[in-house]
C-alpha cells in the first residue's frame, strides 16, 4: 500500500537591487533580516532570531543509487548567512545568491498551494520591510522565476516522501516520463531559449523555464549537468523506512492551479509506482532531448520516440497516466494524497487541463502559466508588430514573475484562485496541523527563547543548566495537532514539555 505523500516545495527567488550596487548575497540577507526584525518589532513571535538551522542532518552527497561520494562537492563554503526558522514551520534563508523559502511539510497538494502562496506573501512583506532600511532610490525586488535569460538558472524543488522499499531504479524509470510530459501544464513559459546552439529564431517561445538546463537523465548534481531525476538521498526522516524524492526539474508557478496540479499529479504517480500500478513503461528513448522537444513544441502535436520502439506525444502520455490514475483511485482510493476530496479534485483538474490542452488552449489562460503568459505577450506583440526577440517581450516575460503586487503581470491576467487570502495570511504565521511541522511551529510560537536550533527532523532545546536536549521527529506524520496539540497547550514552559515528552 502506497504511503502517505508528505510534500514540500523549496523556491529560490531571483533578486535584484535597483539603484544600488549589485550584491545579491548581501541583498538576500538584508531582505530576510528585515522581515525577521519587523516581526520582532511588531511583537509577533513569528521567528526566533536566536533559532539557528541545525546542519546535523544534512548529507547532500548521499546518492539514492546506494553510495556516497566523498569530495563529490567542493568543500562547503558557508553560504547560509541567514537561516531562519519560521513559526509556520518553514525555513527562510540565503542559499548561494538567492533568498530561498522551504515550505513546511504538508500532507496534501492543496495545503502546498496555501503554503506556497504564504511564501510569496512573506517575500512581499520582506521587500516592504527592506525598503524602509535602504537608502532613498534603492529597492530590492524579488522574482518568482527560474532563469535570468542569460544561462543562469535557479530552482524550484519539490519533495515527496516515498517508501524506501520501492527500488530506486523503478522510481527513476516510471517517474521520468511524468516529469518530461507534465511540462505541458506545469510550464511557466519563456521567451526564447538558453540552450547552446539554438536561437530565438528556432525557439521564439517555449513552455518551460527549465528544460534548457537539463543535461543528464539521472544524477546527484543540481547546479551543473542537471539531471531529470535527482538522486540526493537525504530522507530527513527515518532512513530505514523512507526516501525523500527531491525533484529539481519543475518550474516555479504563479498559477495556483498549476502548483496544485504539479504536486498533486506527481504525488499520485508516485503512489501508483509504489503500488506497482503502472503497467506500461512510457520512458522516452532519449529523455534529455525529449524534455526540450516537449518544451519547444507549442502545438503539443509532435510525437517522440519511446524506448520500446513506439512513439507518442506528451499529451497522449499524460492521458495514459491520467486514465491509470483514475482507475487507481477507484480501486485503491486516494488516502495516499490526502483523501477522497482533495484527490478527486486533483483528478478533476488533471482531466480538465488535458481536455483544454487538446481542444481549446484559450480556456487555460487563467490556469496554466505558459498559456497565460503567451496570451498577453503575443497580444502585445501583435498590437505593436514586434518580433519575438524584441527586448520588450523579454522584459514582460521577467515582469510576469515580479512579486511586487503593483508590478506583477501574473497578478493582472486573471489567474484562478483555489485558496483564500485568509488561509494564506494565516499560513504565514501558523503551521499545518497535520504534519510534524505543527510541533516545530508551535514550539517556536510558545518558547522561541528555548529552541536554539531546528531542522526538518529534530528540535534542539536549551532549558538552562542542563545540556542541550534534542527532540527527534523522524516520523513526518507525528507531532501533529491531534498528537501533541493539547500537550503543548497544557505546558507552561519548554522544560515542562520535555519532561512530559519523556514520560
Amino acid at each position: 500500500m502506497a504511503i502517505r505523500k508528505v510534500l514540500g516545495v523549496e523556491t529560490e527567488y531571483g533578486i535584484i537591487i535597483r539603484g544600488g550596487e549589485s550584491n545579491p548575497i548581501a541583498a538576500s540577507s538584508v531582505l530576510i533580516n528585515a522581515y525577521i526584525q519587523e516581526l520582532a518589532r511588531s511583537g509577533t513571535a513569528s521567528a526566533s532570531p536566536r533559532t539557528g538551522w541545525d546542519f546535523e542532518d544534512e548529507h547532500p552527497g548521499n546518492d539514492a543509487r546506494g553510495y556516497s561520494i566523498e569530495g563529490q562537492f567542493p568543500p562547503e563554503v558557508e553560504t547560509h548567512l541567514v537561516n531562519a526558522v519560521l513559526t509556520n514551520g518553514a525555513r527562510y534563508y540565503v542559499d548561494h545568491a538567492h533568498p530561498e523559502l522551504s515550505t513546511p511539510e504538508c500532507a496534501d497538494p492543496r495545503s502546498i498551494v496555501v503554503f506556497d502562496r504564504a511564501a510569496e506573501r512573506i517575500l512581499q512583506r520582506s521587500m516592504e520591510a527592506a525598503a524602509a532600511l535602504l537608502p532613498d532610490g534603492q529597492e530590492i525586488v524579488v522574482y518568482k522565476n527560474n532563469s535570468d535569460r542569460k544561462g543562469n538558472s535557479y530552482g524550484t524543488h519539490e519533495n515527496y516522501l516515498v517508501d524506501r522499499a520501492v527500488p530506486f531504479a523503478q522510481i527513476v524509470a516510471q517517474v521520468m516520463p511524468h516529469f518530461i510530459t507534465r511540462q505541458i501544464y506545469t510550464g511557466a513559459g519563456k521567451v526564447g531559449t538558453e540552450a547552446a546552439g539554438l536561437t530565438s529564431a528556432e525557439v521564439p517561445y517555449q513552455i518551460t523555464q527549465r528544460a534548457d538546463f537539463f543535461e543528464e537523465e539521472v544524477g546527484l548534481e543540481t547546479t551543473l549537468k542537471r539531471p531529470i531525476v535527482n538522486t540526493r538521498d537525504e530522507p530527513h526522516a527515518d532512513p530505514q523506512k523512507y526516501r525523500r524524492l527531491h525533484v529539481i526539474v519543475g518550474d516555479a508557478n504563479l498559477s495556483e492551479v498549476a502548483t496544485f496540479l504539479k504536486v498533486g499529479t506527481t504525488a499520485l504517480v508516485l503512489c501508483m509506482i509504489e503500488d506497482d500500478w503502472l503497467s506500461r513503461d512510457l520512458l522516452p528513448a532519449r529523455p534529455v532531448q525529449t524534455l526540450r522537444h516537449v518544451s519547444y513544441d507549442l502545438t503539443l502535436r509532435r510525437p517522440f520516440d519511446l524506448a520500446d520502439g513506439t512513439s507518442m506525444t506528451a499529451l497522449e502520455a499524460q492521458w495514459e497516466l491520467y486514465r491509470r490514475a483514475d482507475l487507481y483511485a477507484q480501486e485503491r482510493g486516494l488516502e495516499c494524497i490526502g483523501g477522497e476530496e482533495v484527490g478527486r479534485e486533483v483528478l478533476r483538474r488533471w482531466e480538465a487541463v488535458l481536455t483544454g490542452l487538446e481542444s481549446d488552449l484559450s480556456s487555460l489562460a487563467t490556469t496554466v502559466d505558459w498559456v497565460a503568459k503567451h496570451r498577453v505577450l503575443n497580444g502585445y506583440r501583435e498590437r505593436h508588430d514586434l518580433r519575438w526577440d524584441d527586448a520588450r517581450l523579454a522584459a514582460m516575460d521577467l515582469q510576469y514573475h515580479d512579486l511586487r503586487p503593483d508590478k506583477s503581470l501574473a497578478a493582472r491576467v486573471g489567474l484562478e484562485r483555489i485558496v483564500s487570502d485568509a488561509e494564506v495570511e494565516a499560513a504565514m504565521m501558523h503551521p499545518p496541523l497535520d504534519t510534524r511541522a505543527y510541533f516545530r511551529g508551535r514550539c517556536l510560537q510558545r518558547w522561541p527563547q528555548s529552541v536554539v536550533a531546528a531542522n526538518w527532523d529534530s528540535l534542539v532545546f536549551d532549558i538552562g543548566g542542563d545540556p542541550l536536549r534534542r527532540v527527534p521527529m523522524m516520523e513526518p506524520l507525528r507531532g501533529t495537532e491531534a498528537h501533541v496539540g493539547s500537550l503543548i497547550d497544557s505546558c507552561d514552559s519548554a522544560l515542562e514539555l520535555l519532561q512530559k515528552l519523556e514520560r
Binding site: 549589485s22 538567492h98 530561498e100 535557479y154 540552450a195 543540481t222 549537468k225 532531448q289 507549442l298 502585445y380
Partner: protein, 64 residues
C-alpha cells in the same frame, strides 16, 4: 568548452517541418478580444520603461 559542445550535441536537431503557431485560440468572440485589449491597456501602464536596460541588468548567479 567540452561541456558546451556536449550541450550542443544534445540539442534537438531542428525539425524540417514548418513551425506551426500555437493552435488558433477560439478568441474570436468580440468580448474575449475586448478583454485582452483592456488587459493590454492596463499592462501598458506598469511595464518597465526601459525594457532593454532592464533585461540586460537582470543577472542572477546560478543557484541550487
Amino acid at each position: 568548452m567540452a561541456e558546451r559542445e556536449q550541450m550542443k550535441k544534445q540539442a534537438p536537431t531542428k525539425s524540417d517541418e514548418v513551425v506551426e503557431p500555437v493552435p488558433a485560440t477560439s478568441e474570436s468572440g468580440e468580448k474575449i478580444k475586448g478583454e485582452l485589449d483592456d488587459l493590454l491597456d492596463e499592462i501598458d501602464e506598469v511595464l518597465e520603461t526601459n525594457a532593454e536596460e532592464f533585461v540586460k541588468s537582470y543577472v542572477q548567479k546560478g543557484g541550487e
